[in-house]
Structure formats: C-alpha cells, structure tokens
Amino acid sequence: MSIVTDKAVAAKAVPAVSPPSSPWRRFVAEFAESKLAMGGLILFVLLALASILAPLIAPQDPYDLAQLDIFDVRLPPGSVSEGSGLTYWLGSDAQGRDMLSAILYGLRVSLMVGAISVVVAMSLGLAVGLGAAYFGGRIDAVLMRLVDIQLGFPAILVALILLSVVGQGIDKVMIALIVVQWAYFARLARGAALVERHREYVEAATSLALPAWRIVFRHIMPNVLPPLIVYATVRIAEAVALEATLSFLGVGVPVTEPSLGLLLRNGFGYLMSGDYWISFFPGAALALAIIAINLVGDQLRDMLNPRLKR
C-alpha cells in the first residue's frame, strides 16, 4: 500500500525541470502536473468564455421577446425557422427560444449566481467559523446558535420573503443563496479549526504571544481551507442545483432571463414527452460545467493542502 503512495509522490516529484522562479509560476507548473485538472481548466475556461461572450456568439437574444416566434415552438435540433431563417442547432423550447442561445445565456447566469454566492458565503462562513472556534465560549455559542437558526430556515422561505418584499431578480436569488449557504461553511470551518486550535504549532504560536489575528489567519486558516474548498466546489454545484430547485418551486430567476436551472426546470416538464432536447441539452451543459469546476477544485485543494506538500 505504501509503495503505491510513495510511487505517486515520487512520480509527482520527478518532473522538476528548471526550478520555477516566481511563486505564481511555481503555482502554474504545479497545477499543470495533473492532465485531468488541466483538461478541467480548459473546459471551464471555454465554458466561461462562451458564457461571457454569449451576446456576441449566440444566434439569438433570448431576452428579446420580439425575436421569439410562436410558430417555432418545440422544434427538434437542426430545424430551420420558416419566419426568420434561423437554424435551431439544439432545437427550440416551448417559447420558441433557440436552445443554444438560451443555454449560453443561462450558463452565464448560473455560473455567476453559483460562483458569487458560494464565494461570498464561504468567506462569511469562514470568518464566522474561525471566530467561533478560536474564541470559543460565549462567542462560539452565539455564533453557532445563529448557524442553527439559519440552517433551520428553509431556502424557499428566504426566497419567498425576498420575492415578496424586494421583487424578482437574479440579484435577489443570489442574496437568497448566500443567506442559505453561509451557515454550512461556518459549521465546517469551525469543526476543522477546532482540531487545529489544539495542535502543537498553534500552542507554540500562542506561547510566542503572537497576536490573535495572526494566529487565526496565518496559522489556522491555511489548514482549514482545504476541506472548505472541497466543500465549496461541491457547493457551487449545489448552489446551481438549489437555484434550479427554487425555479422548480416557482421562486427563482425571472422567466424571461432564464438560468440553466430554469431551463432544466422547464425541460423537466418535457422529460416524458419525447421532446428530449428541451431537457437534455441544458442538463448536459450543467453537468459539463460542474465536472470542470470539480476537476479544477480537486487539484487546487491538493495544492493548497500544506500536509500534502513535499
């Protein structure tokens, strides 16, 4: 068993060509060691580019209702519109929206919603979790009970309150997702930080009378981050799925600005109808995006983990 691991480590250590000079280049070189991760990164960059450039490359502006033709609804992939002459490469949906365009724009919304909400929620949760673990006692109790309240508060209720009070919009969905997710990170960060807090190096740092913030951020945080990043990559997928679920429950993004989640939810109604393209393509796009994010996340995690350092 140990041979396997040693071999793996040795294999990783071998391509030490010229020692990279700057930390950034070292970082890139280390990342590129995994072909799978590189593949994931390339896929992710391609998807991200496609979504950013959606207005330029999409054949149709799915937000412009005047471009939708009611006689082009539910056309199979490859059909040509009789009205506009547009080819629906991936078919059209129940509104006569070009699926390809809708997916490109939807990817944009979903990636933005997923990434921003998870990053903000993770930062918030990390701060809360570290604070709770380091200070302990009352502060810990108050923060963790806050987490309990938040975890008990269902996403749909948060979304419905926001919908009712401030109206509909992509930004509101993002707020709802942040509100719902920070508590998970806080819990996880606290759990990991509790373990670190009692390790020798922290005790050493404490006995050196280093300031609290330095101990927390320089010593504890780097060791807490790896599990959090694993969880964050999973969470992005879950955030996108949660956004889809909110759409499923009718409290998601506006119908005229569909996200991948909303497209998937629309497609859900067509799973058994034989109009497979309405559900299949958004699902495939979502799965690709999530796989890419996870491949990148896995490698980043291994690199950021001080205990896997040689």
Partner: protein
Amino acid sequence: MMIRKLAAIAALATGLMVGLAAAVGAQELKIGLKTEPSSLDPFYHNLGPNLQMSAHMFDQLVAQDDNQKLIPALALSWKPISDTEWEFKLRKGVKFSDGSDFTADDVVFSVDRVAKVPNSPSPFTLYTKAIKEIKIVDPYTIIMVTAFPHPLLPNDLGSIYIMSKKAASGSAPEGKTTEQLNKGDGLVGTGPYKFVEWVRGDHLTLEANPNWWRGKAKWKKVTFRTFTDNGARVAAILSGDVDVIESPPTADLPKLRENPKVSVSQGLSNRVIYIALDSFAEPSVGIPDTSGKNPLKDKRVRQALSMAIDREAIVKRIMQNLGVAAGDLLPQPMFGSRADAKVQKYDPAAAKKLLADAGYPNGFTITLGTPNDRYINDSDVAQAVAAMWTRIGVKTNVDSIKSTVFFKNRDEYKYSAYLAGWGAGTGEMSSPLRSLVATQNKDKGMGVTNRGRYSNKAMDAKLEDALRTVDDKKREALLQDASRLVINDYGILPLHYEVTPWATKKGLTYKPRVDQNTLAENVVAGGK
C-alpha cells in the same frame, strides 16, 4: 405422483380463474389527484378539491350536471313562489349511508351549520347568506325565504352538501367538529360513496354506499392518492399504480395518446383565461415611459392590445389544443353566453395603426403579471402574449411569479396588466361579470376581483337588473347585453377557455365535467 401433479395444476388453474374473476369483480378504482382536499368537512373550506370530495359522499338539493345545468338531486323540484320565497319539494325514500332517512330537518341542520363552522379560511356562507329563513311545511316540503330577490339561489345550493342531522350532531355549536369529520366521525351523506379511511398526505379510501338512492355505485372501492408533481402523476398512470389521473400536463399528452395502455379524455371547462388592464390609475405603475399618462384608459389602445394577440396560435402552439380561443367570459352554451360572441381577429397591422391614432406610434413599455403555478401553462401563455405585444411596439416585460405573491401584488394594484383565470362556480354569466368587470363596490360585493378597476356604468346597470330578475329568460338576455357591453369596450381581454384533460387506463373513459371536477362516478368502462 401423477395425481399430485394434476391436483397442483388444477389448483393453479382454479387460482388463476379466481384471480381473473377477482380482477373483474373487484372493481377497485384508484385515482391520482393533483391536490389533496384540505378537509373532509363539507363546510370548512370552499375549495375545488374539497367540493370534489364532498360530491362523492354527499348530495345537494340542486345538483349541476356535467355541463353545470341544474338538475334535481335531493330536491325533486323547486320554484319561486314570490320574489323572495322559494319552494323546494324534497325527494322521498332517500336514505343516508348509515341507513337513516333523509328529511327536511337535515336540510335545516346543514344550512344552519354552514355559518357555525369556526376558523373557516373560505366560508360557505357565500352561498347561504341570502337565506333568511327556512320554513318546514312538511317533512318533504320546505320554503326558503331570502333577504332580497336572489335568482341564483338554486345555483348557490349546488355548493351546499346535505349532512345527516343525526350523525353530525354533537356537543360543539357546529355539531361534529371539522377534526372529527376528518376522521370520518359523523361523515354521513346520501352520496354514491362512503368514508373508509383518510391518511393525510398518503391516501383516502371510500367504498360504495349500499343505500344510495340513485342505485348502485359504479365502483366497490375508490382510493385517492395525491401526486402534486406532474411527472410523478404521469408516471403513476404509466406504471399502473393508478387507473385515472387528473390534469396530465399538456407536454405529455401527445405521448400519452400514442401509448396503447392509456387513453386520454378531455372536455371544455367553465374557466376563461383573460388579461385585465389597469383602466383607473394615472400614471399606471407598470408603464414608465408615457410621461405620466395611462394609455390603457384609451379604448383604442385596449383594442390594439387585443388585436395583437393571436389567440388561435396560442391555443395551438402553447396550449397544444387544450384550450378554445375565447371571445367572451363564458363558453357557449352556458347560461348567459352569446352565440354572437366572436373571437377577436388577429391583425397586428391594424393594431399598430390604432396605437398610432391613439398617440403612441412608437408604443410604450408595460409589465404583464402572471402566476406561474395556477392555470394550465399560465406563464408560457403570458410570455407568448408579451412577445406579440412587443412586436406591435408595446415592449412587454413578464413578471411571472408564484401565485402566493402574484395574488398579493394584484390585490395591491401593482400590475398595469395581468393574466388570470376565472371559473364560473355558479355555471352562468353573472359570476364572471360581477367579480371581474363590475365597478368595485364594497357594500354590494361587486368587482371583488376587478383589480384593473374597470368601470362601465351601463354594464353595471344591466348586471344589477339581471341579479334581481328571477325570470330565467329575461335574466339571460340582460346578462348577454351586459357581457356584450364589456367585451365591445375591450374592458377585459378574454384569451381562451381551458380544456381539461384526464388520462385513464385503457378500457376506461372519463366523462369530462365543465367544472373540472374528477368524480369516480364519471369514470366509465369502454374506450373511445
């Protein structure tokens, strides 16, 4: 050895035959519902799924047939004997499911109980408030006295199910409480089925009422299960878990029709899908770019918006023919509908011209509100309308939102235009007219759902006249006049009437009902 084998084969064969016989004679019907009733108390919550369940276990004095025509049920006949008095002759020889006799006392008890049920979120007093007093002439003749001339009394009684006084009396003011009735305690009626068991969220079981006055119920046992999710409901019929489902989604209908194990039944409903326009506020909240003017107050603009909608295309493409384009608020041949009500012709060029004439050659911007979980394909229809309006220059945003929030926004006048639906509970024209388009008047209970605040005095006069006219012929003519006035003024834009679908196991058919109810008695053997 040989004998044993033979015996085994014989036993097997008998077993098979018994099995077959059981399959034919068992007559158990399993129905997949979309929404579970909130209660079994027939007077607790005035809600479609509850009324539909009551119809299995109870009868009214005056029932409504599949087309909502009034038919005798527990009352053999009824007639007005003055403007405010109605005489009902009750049916003799009717027994409740517990074997006791039905008499006038049960009617008085039931009507009295309506107002006594506490905490009702939607009380049935809506249908009994006109009744001032019930006089018992003899056990099978009663006279209902109304507080004001009320020609719709027989229609209203279609929602009042008669309970057994003997079974439902109790210590609480209302007799047996809602909680007791939900457990089946006191739940005794004269309907085709009687209560067996209800496990909320799981299943509800009824069995044939042996004492039913109309004869033998069609099924020995009926089990209802609820599948709120469309896909799950369709899967349930495909897997054979249930024999009938209500409202299969339009998207799945083509496949269901092709499926050799399933057949689809459908029928026109009393529900019209319409768009209401804000014809009151100035400026109107969803129209930002007309420098404070509300263009919808101009009839030409309303007409243009109506002409811009291709109703036939919506019915065909979005509704997949589960709708009929509408030119009125109630389809023919229901009471008060008109033969001369034409579907608005689709003419975007003329619509553009009308807009220009009205002073909006470049159109304007408007927000169209719609619920996304209330009517068949509601949000999709609204998006299609928005696309059509945008094409004549009226740039339309769609605010498609959960009905919980939609109805609140609508009631707070937050929409310049909204899409909604109306099912005529009474089965005649005064229902949509008084709720949707009559001028708002709290004291008279008019225009309750008229959240576009449309007002047309001439129409109000005709309608109020109709609501006082007991003579059916005259009343129908008045209602027709009233609806003509609204439609020709584009006070409301009807889109289509919903067509309700049901999917059944092959070999069964559902006889569709205008009120969209799913009743076990309407499930009949024999395919199309």
